[in-house]
């Protein structure tokens, strides 16, 4: 949703204004952090993603054409940065401290814990598609463009992700 003053904030942020950047963060930071967390599955990765997005934002806004929603554009950028983060993490075969221990994030009830654990256990490519389609509401074509895969591949991955989730939840009952 475009709020009054947003174009001015964008213009000021492009010019390097810290105040404008802080205002944009207060408007979109939590939303982007939530998306980054769901895509990466780890809080520290989500913070790094959001950090990078906002550090790079003033220069990147030079390429924002102001034809669509700023929030949608920011989400696409955030998803791409999260994807790069995941690729980098996978290449390093990095295992986070929270992956070896109990979940560090708030959960709601036993059912929520089980579902969160099942989502966390999904391979990154499946979790990315699941989050983008079922939580963020992207189309398969949009997901394909974001992840560099075919729309058909996105459908296959979503099917596989949902199948795994259902099996994990049924096994856990």
């Amino acid at each position: 949703v475009t709020r009054p003053g947003l174009p001015e904030l964008v213009q000021q942020a492009r010019g390097g204004s810290s105040e404008a950047l802080a205002s944009l963060y207060s408007t979109f930071g939590a939303t982007l952090h939530r998306l980054a967390y769901r895509l990466t599955g780890r809080r520290e990765d989500a913070e790094d993603v959001v950090h990078d997005v906002f550090v790079g934002l003033p220069e990147a806004l030079g390429r924002y054409e102001e034809r669509g929603s700023l929030e949608a554009w920011l989400k696409r950028v955030t998803a791409r940065v999260a994807l790069m983060r995941l690729r980098s993490r996978n290449r390093r075969r990095e295992v986070g401290l929270d992956a070896a221990g109990p979940p560090a994030e708030p959960k709601t009830g036993a059912a929520g814990i089980a579902l969160q654990a099942a989502v966390d256990a999904l391979p990154d490519p499946l979790r990315m598609v699941l989050v983008l389609k079922e939580i963020e509401g992207y189309s398969h074509a949009e997901i394909g463009a974001l992840l560099g895969i075919r729309a058909g591949t996105s459908r296959v991955r979503l099917h596989a992700a949902l199948k795994r989730l259902r099996k994990a939840l049924e096994d856990g009952r």
């Binding site: 810290s18 950047l21 802080a22 963060y25 930071g29 939590a30 952090h33 939530r34 967390y37 769901r38 809080r43 989500a46 913070e47 959001v50 950090h51 990078d52 997005v53 906002f54 550090v55 790079g56 934002l57 220069e59 990147a60 030079g62 390429r63 924002y64 054409e65 554009w73 696409r76 950028v77 791409r80 940065v81 790069m84 690729r87 996978n90 290449r91 994030e105 708030p106 959960k107 709601t108 059912a111 929520g112 089980a114 579902l115 969160q116 989502v119 490519p125 699941l130 079922e134 463009a145 992840l147 560099g148 591949t153 296959v156 949902l162 989730l165 259902r166 939840l169 049924e170 009952r173």
Partner: protein, 354 residues
């Protein structure tokens, strides 16, 4: 839990997520205040570096106009050259590319390589096979490329002649001369484009590079430019559009556990234009991350595992290169994408006359 699909979807949407920590915004502002800048992937699809270079080259060959000598190209001469160029190219990315800010050379992650031994470089012909695996199922094999390295005597001294054949969109072939003593480029030529009508030639001196682009055919055009080279003159250089340069360079590196170093890759003078999707120079960051025994069609080799990273405006491109311990040949190269693994495997080696 009701595991029906609809309720599962509803529960997914209600999963909680943590709030960002309170110090995240101060950290962001502190990072900016320190001068940190992060190039964001804002709209264009990730493309393979070679394809991006090919695209840029094609744009250059198709429409460029450039004239400017000296330390940096004159932007007054062509205020929005790349924007004009991209507007007429149907297959180049988004209009956003034409809005890019003027090019800024990225800082190397490691110290620029100045300790290396060009005397260790030996000639030969290396043939590689390209394998692409998608979604862990589909495997595609293509002819890949052949890199030939041989000694030549040029007017300015002895040189390594590197020529590369490969299957690409442009069906391009290139040849490059690197100084025998420094492994810095001396001359680079590439012929490609539609019906091979386009030709790029770069001539290097110790501190600068001159570039000419000639297009023949119905829309004949000729362009030229020059640019100063980055880094110390005692450091080797690679050429962005030339894929064989790593073969002699890695032979000369003092690879060992923990070794790391950066080398600049030089692109086109045209890339210094405002709106160019690529900068004219990019550091290639190299780091030894371990040792592996690698089996490729040419045999089994004990190798150094070398992590190679290059930060482009569209994101960081990383690959892994396995270099044989004994003669430091490039044995295998691997690049991973969203759903694919692309490998380049050594198929054969043929020694050439010294």
């Amino acid at each position: 839990m009701n595991a029906s699909l609809d309720s599962l979807r509803a529960e997914l949407r209600e999963l909680p997520a943590p709030e960002p920590s309170a110090d995240l915004l101060p950290r962001i502002l502190a990072s900016r205040a320190r001068g940190l800048r992060v190039p964001l992937p804002t709209g264009r699809r990730r493309a393979h570096v070679a394809l991006l270079v090919a695209a840029a080259l094609t744009v250059a060959l198709g429409t460029a106009h450039w004239a400017g000598l000296g330390r940096a190209p004159s932007h007054e001469a062509a205020p929005d050259l790349y924007g004009d160029l991209l507007g007429g190219m149907p297959w180049l990315p988004t209009p956003g590319a034409a809005q890019e800010r003027p090019v800024v050379t990225r800082a190397p992650r490691y110290p620029i390589i100045t300790e290396y031994d060009p005397g260790r470089v030996a000639g030969g012909i290396w043939t590689y096979e390209q394998r692409t695996t998608t979604d862990e199922v589909l495997t595609r094999r293509t002819a890949g490329k052949t890199v030939a390295l041989s000694r030549w005597d040029l007017e300015g001294g002895a040189a390594w002649f590197v020529t590369t054949w490969r299957d690409t969109l442009l069906d391009a072939a290139d040849s490059a001369f690197y100084s025998n003593a420094t492994l810095r480029p001396v001359r680079f030529a590439l012929t490609g484009g539609h019906k091979g009508r386009t030709r790029i030639v770069q001539q290097y001196s110790s501190d600068s590079m001159r570039e000419t682009i000639d297009i023949t055919g119905p829309r004949e055009r000729h362009f030229h430019g020059a640019i100063a080279l980055p880094g110390p003159q005692t450091a080797p250089l690679l050429m962005f559009a030339e894929q064989g340069g790593l073969v002699p360079l890695v032979q000369a590196l003092p690879l060992k556990r923990g070794w790391r170093g950066s080398v600049y890759a030089v692109g086109l003078v045209l890339h210094a234009s405002p709106g160019s999707p690529l900068p004219p120079f990019l550091p290639l960051d190299l780091r030894v991350t371990g040792r592996d025994r690698v089996t490729v069609p040419a045999g089994t080799f004990d190798c150094w595992r070398l992590a190679v990273a290059q930060r482009l405006p569209s994101g960081e491109y990383r690959s892994t290169v396995w270099v044989s311990l004994d003669r430091q040949w490039v044995v295998k190269t691997e690049e991973r994408g969203g759903d694919f693994v692309s490998e380049q495997l050594l198929v054969s080696y043929t020694a050439t006359a010294p």
